[in-house]
């Protein structure tokens, strides 16, 4: 079966983002970018399904300008077979991202689509679920285990109260949580090989979808600063401060 893995180029997870002085957005100039960590876990899971003889082909897809080809090459180096870039310079709302991905699902007819549960930039946690709704597929979000069982996939999900396992009829959507797997490092030979794997570019405008913005970003501000704290010298001093200064224990 074919597995489709949509991925996103985002700020590197180690970088602390800064807000622009005019409060129009965050400043991404000269900031290190990377594949979204949850998307990397999605690629790894798809590649493992291929190595287990379950998946026949792994296709990575990303939406963005030419720079997102870098992340598609990363996915190819991790083991994806081919890549699709949907080219646009716009920053699209999730519903429009999901509509573009729906078109790719219609073209490629994957049995499984694996996405990251959220991107660490916009923190929306919604594209996978939206794609599931648009394609009429079942969904297993926040997955920590995935196993294919005939025409079903069993997904164990990280939920507030613990773990929940669902059986989903294929085709299905899975979104990854942190514990699903630990992604491999791409080896140098695989990075070289990835450069020759097929990467097709399609213009977002050619899909015939109305991509009009659904949100208007009014401003972006830095979070409220916490006032500087103090270092206490002993447990006695800590307990005294919590009782008498902060008054949070009695």
């Amino acid at each position: 079966m074919k597995v489709l893995v949509p991925i996103k180029r985002v700020i590197d997870y180690n970088v602390k983002v800064r807000v622009k002085a005019d409060n129009s957005n965050v400043d991404l100039a000269n900031v290190k970018m990377a594949i979204n960590p949850f998307c990397e876990i999605a690629v790894e899971e798809a590649v493992r399904l291929k190595e287990a003889g379950i998946a026949t082909e792994v296709i990575a897809v990303s939406i963005g300008n030419k720079s997102c080809q870098e992340q598609l090459r990363t996915a190819l180096a991790l083991g994806a077979d081919r890549a699709i870039q949907i080219e646009t310079d716009e920053s699209l709302d999730s519903i429009n991202v999901a509509k573009l991905l729906q078109k790719i699902v219609e073209e490629e007819q994957p049995q499984l689509v694996i996405l990251g549960k959220q991107s660490i930039d916009s923190d929306n946690n919604q594209t996978g679920q939206m794609l599931a709704a648009l394609t009429g597929m079942s969904q297993g979000t926040f997955a920590s285990a995935v196993s294919i069982d005939g025409d079903k996939v069993n997904v164990t999900r990280e939920v507030d109260s613990g773990l929940q396992t669902l059986a989903l009829t294929l085709p299905a959507i899975v979104t990854t949580d942190l514990r699903l797997n630990e992604p491999r490092y791409a080896s140098l030979p695989n990075i070289m090989k990835a450069k020759r794997k097929p990467l097709v570019v399609k213009a977002a405008a050619d899909f015939g979808i109305d991509l009009t913005a659904r949100t208007n970003l009014i401003k972006v501000t830095p979070p409220a600063e916490r006032k500087a704290g103090i270092i206490v010298e002993s447990i006695d001093e800590l307990v005294e401060k919590l009782k008498n200064e902060a008054k949070v224990i009695s």
Binding site: I95, T215, L217, R226, L238
Partner: protein
């Protein structure tokens, strides 16, 4: 305007977060209805009818909703949506799971994780793990919104709303519940606790988390963990506090052996008072702590327990 709020519950208890999501709905203003979708959930409907500011409680009580499967609940909510300008749920794992599906079925984008309401179409939400705060206007005709409960104060529960049973059942038939492994604890839930003590990689193993028990008992605290501690298998996933785990804002948060990665700070830096205990004086957690103690946690924890 009329607002439909999804009641967060597990068929046995109405979660306190619902009271905060209703507060967010009140900040928007309008007629507020609560939807209780579950199975054998009459007790939840009764509790929901007492939530202040709610005029009607809609109850969809059917086996199809027992586990609140996204495919089934999203169809139910989408059918009800015609009567509402805003549809809201708490940004916990249930709401995060089905609400984007509702948004897509209604052809709108979702405004996720709001922490404040500016107007009926403009909301404030953290982005980049809380390192930036965005004010976003929704241009869609219907607003689909998830609410971060730490941003709002709970409404009272002395109301008296009308309870209306819904009899139409929406079962997509493409997903089914298999099993669950619930963490059972006598302690308060992380989202509801006024004191939280969390352990990180510095705890070294799961056994050492017992060092937190006595302190938690004395303070009536919930016990949390950093991602590093969960990844290392010290404790289960439902204890994780952080950008992609639980977002908490208790009166007192005690971080023990936690270095303070951006992703952890995102989940707890709105706590009123933060205490950090770490042997590394350079650990970033000290930058957000009101009170820092540079000490070996294996010395500090027993002493703290004895002095509380």
């Amino acid at each position: 305007m009329s607002i439909l709020v999804f009641a967060e519950h597990d068929n046995s208890e109405l979660k306190a977060d619902t009271l905060k999501t209703v507060a967010a709905a009140q900040a928007i203003g309008g007629d507020i209805h609560l939807l209780v979708a579950g199975h054998n959930c009459q007790a939840i409907a009764e509790a929901a009818s007492k939530v202040n500011g709610v005029s009607k409680v809609l109850v969809a009580d059917n086996a199809a909703y027992e586990h609140q499967l996204a495919e089934n609940v999203s169809l139910l909510v989408t059918e009800l949506a015609a009567d509402y300008s805003h549809i809201m749920a708490t940004a916990l794992t249930t709401g995060k799971n089905f609400m984007p599906r509702v948004a897509a079925l209604l052809d709108v984008t979702q405004i996720s994780d709001i922490i404040a309401v500016e107007s009926s179409d403009t909301f404030v939400r953290p982005i980049y793990a809380g390192n930036a705060i965005a004010t976003v206007q929704s241009l869609d005709s219907k607003k689909v919104i998830t609410v971060r409960s730490t941003g709002f104060d709970a409404v009272a529960t002395d109301g008296n709303a009308e309870i209306i049973a819904l009899d139409k059942v929406t079962d997509a038939g493409i997903s089914s519940y298999v099993s669950e492994q619930l963490s059972v604890s006598e302690r308060p839930e992380l989202g509801a606790a006024s004191v939280i003590i969390s352990g990180g990689r510095g705890m070294q193993n799961g056994e050492n988390f017992k060092l937190l028990d006595g302190i938690a008992d004395k303070l009536g605290a919930a016990i949390g963990a950093s991602r590093a501690a969960v990844d290392a298998g010290f404790v289960p996933n439902d204890m994780q506090v952080g950008q992609t785990g639980k977002i908490v804002a208790p009166d007192l948060y005690i971080a023990v052996g936690i270095s303070g990665a951006i992703q952890h700070l995102a989940g707890m830096k709105d706590s009123k008072v933060i205490v950090a205990i770490n042997k590394d004086a350079e650990a970033p957690i000290f930058q957000v702590a009101d009170y820092g103690l540079v000490a070996d946690l294996f010395d500090a924890l027993p002493e703290l327990e004895s002095k509380l």
